[in-house]
């Protein structure tokens, strides 16, 4: 009986000792888990916010640039290069950047009896400067021609001219 009590006491003491340890371990694990989870969540959320900030910033910047850029189709005059055989008629298009930021013209489209799209590879224009190019297009006198200028930011500027 004593032996049994002793055994029981020893067992009970070990049990209590283990239970306290488990509590501590469990608490530590839980704290660690919460810490890890919290840190992860905060990191994730911060990362998301930063990503969204970048997206927002880029989006706003793109839109701001797009609405700020402005091209004036300053002059379009029709000519003919008699030094070469037909088809030798052309349109001389002069564009001026009257906005506040630089822009890049990517294509010019002439829409008349026929339609012609001309890619532009050297169309970078700083504010206040002009860009001229010759586009070969077989116009007829008094043709009404629509001229579309597309920029790298997908802005489209349009004018209408009489070929004379």
């Amino acid at each position: 009986m004593r032996i049994g009590n002793n055994l029981c006491n020893r067992f009970s003491s070990r049990y209590h000792h283990r239970r306290g340890l488990a509590t501590i371990v469990t608490s530590a694990i839980m704290l660690s888990a919460v810490g890890i989870m919290g840190t992860t969540a905060v990191s994730w959320s911060n990362s998301n916010l930063v990503t969204h900030q970048e997206i927002l910033s880029k989006s706003i910047s793109d839109k701001t640039n797009k609405i700020t850029e402005f091209i004036t189709i300053e002059n379009v005059w029709a000519g003919q290069n008699t030094m070469i055989p037909p088809p030798n008629k052309f349109l001389n298009v002069t564009l001026t950047n009257t906005g506040n930021i630089g822009l890049t013209v990517t294509e010019i489209k002439i829409d008349g009896i026929t339609s012609k799209v001309t890619p532009i590879t050297d169309g970078e224009i700083v504010p206040g400067r002009s860009y001229s190019t010759i586009i070969y297009y077989e116009w007829n006198t008094n043709d009404v021609l629509n001229v579309y200028v597309t920029t790298e930011r997908d802005s489209i500027f349009r004018t209408q001219v009489f070929a004379q």
Partner: protein, 422 residues
């Protein structure tokens, strides 16, 4: 702790977003303002001249914003190559102000004889396009009119040239050439052309009309005429207009006389005098101190009524240098065969002894004046002194069907007779 961090992150994100959106909003406002400024920019070309073969363009800023003209395009519309040049200029124009001498500093020689299409471009991208000396580039609507087209010899008519800008661009420096006699039908009349007024128009907008006027004096005999052809300086070939002015004989109708000069008039070429000897004289040189009788034709310009002349009707001569006056009263007839002449029929006609002679409506009667007094038989005479006289006929009468009817009285003074008694 984590909640606070998360909360701070969200707050900073929201703050950043708000700031970013605010910047974007500012960009939109700025862009809108720029677009509005671009739309509100307003300027016009006031004047274009060629000074020393250089353009001299005057621009007025008619808007509320300052503008900066930074490009000048010049296209030669006359030259076969049809070249186009672009020049960078920098002309600031304050609101309401003007900028002159634009084009004086560009390395381009401009000629009066050539037509140019010019475009000015502002910093904001607005432009004004116009043509200079472009009368030669396309036909204009030209009319040459004579106001009036028929005149009497020695009279002046107006030759008017109307030039309408039927193009789409403003014309500058529009001036006419002096009209020339139209060949091969110039006409036989002698025509003298005065100076043009105005000599030129600085500008003529689309749809506008320029009016040039010359006074034209025409001499000759009806129906001679003169035809003129007019064109502009630097004209488009064949862009001319013709007008003809024809001479006509001056005619004044009885109605004109009745309205403007009186119901009665005299035929001045019928005025004559006699001092006997069977001669009537039509000149103005009358010997002094002799009995003199006169005759003239009186026209009654009233087309319907007869005027009966009173015995008070008198041909009166007033001295231009003294108070002398010599009346010659109407008589029915005179005898100029004897010297001195006599009154063969005094102005008597029973029972009234007045209103003896009637001049029918729209008719003429030859009248004689000789009596010293009304109804008398004695012939009057000028004094024995050399005097210049101005004479006029004072007519007293009445419009009635018969001499005895009451009718309506009418009196008139008909001037412009001159005599030199010596």
């Amino acid at each position: 702790m984590f909640a606070i961090i998360a909360l701070l992150s969200i707050v900073s994100y929201i703050t950043y977003s708000m700031n970013t959106l605010d910047k974007f909003n500012q960009s939109i406002l700025v862009t809108n303002q720029e677009n509005m400024d671009r739309g509100n920019e307003e300027f016009r070309v006031e004047k274009v001249t060629l000074n020393n073969n250089k353009f001299n363009i005057t621009v007025q800023n008619a808007g509320n914003l300052p503008i900066n003209i930074n490009r000048l395009w010049v296209e030669n519309k006359t030259h076969t190559d049809d070249w186009i040049y672009k020049y960078d200029i920098n002309e600031a124009v304050a609101p309401g102000g003007e900028a002159s001498n634009i084009g004086q500093n560009i390395p381009l020689t401009s000629l009066d004889s050539q037509s140019y299409k010019i475009m000015l471009v502002t910093e904001r991208g607005n432009s004004q396009q116009f043509t200079v000396n472009s009368a030669s580039s396309a036909p204009l609507k030209i009319q040459l009119l004579a106001f009036p087209p028929t005149v009497s010899s020695g009279f002046t008519t107006g030759l008017v040239m109307l030039v309408t800008n039927n193009g789409s661009g403003t014309l500058f420096n529009l001036a006419p050439q002096t009209p020339t006699r139209y060949l091969p039908q110039p006409g036989l009349a002698t025509c003298e052309l005065g100076p043009v007024s105005p000599p030129s128009y600085d500008t003529l907008p689309p749809g506008g009309t320029a009016i040039f006027k010359w006074d034209l004096t025409v001499l000759g005999n009806a129906p001679d005429y003169c035809t003129y052809t007019a064109e502009l300086q630097n004209p488009y070939p064949g862009n001319t207009a013709q007008a003809t002015v024809t001479l006509k004989t001056l005619k004044i109708t009885s109605t004109d006389f009745a309205t403007n000069a009186g119901v009665l008039s005299i035929n001045y070429t019928s005025f004559r005098w006699s001092q006997g000897g069977g001669d009537w004289h039509h000149d103005w040189n009358v010997p002094k101190g002799s009995n003199t009788v006169f005759s003239l034709d009186l026209n009654n310009n009233n087309v319907t009524g007869t005027i009966w002349l009173s015995n008070s009707t008198t041909l009166v001569f007033y001295s231009v240098s003294s108070s002398a006056q010599v009346p010659y009263y109407i008589v029915k007839n005179v005898d100029v065969v004897p010297t001195p002449p006599t009154i063969s029929q005094s102005y008597t006609c029973p029972p009234l002894n007045d209103y003896c002679i009637g001049v029918p409506g729209n008719g003429t009667a030859t009248l004689y004046f000789a009596a010293k007094v009304a109804g008398g038989n004695a012939v009057g005479q000028f004094s024995n002194v050399q005097i210049q006289y101005t004479g006029f006929l004072i007519v007293f009468g009445k419009y009635s069907d018969a001499p005895n009817d009451a009718g309506s009285q009418y009196g008139q003074n008909i001037p412009y007779i001159g005599l030199l008694v010596n």
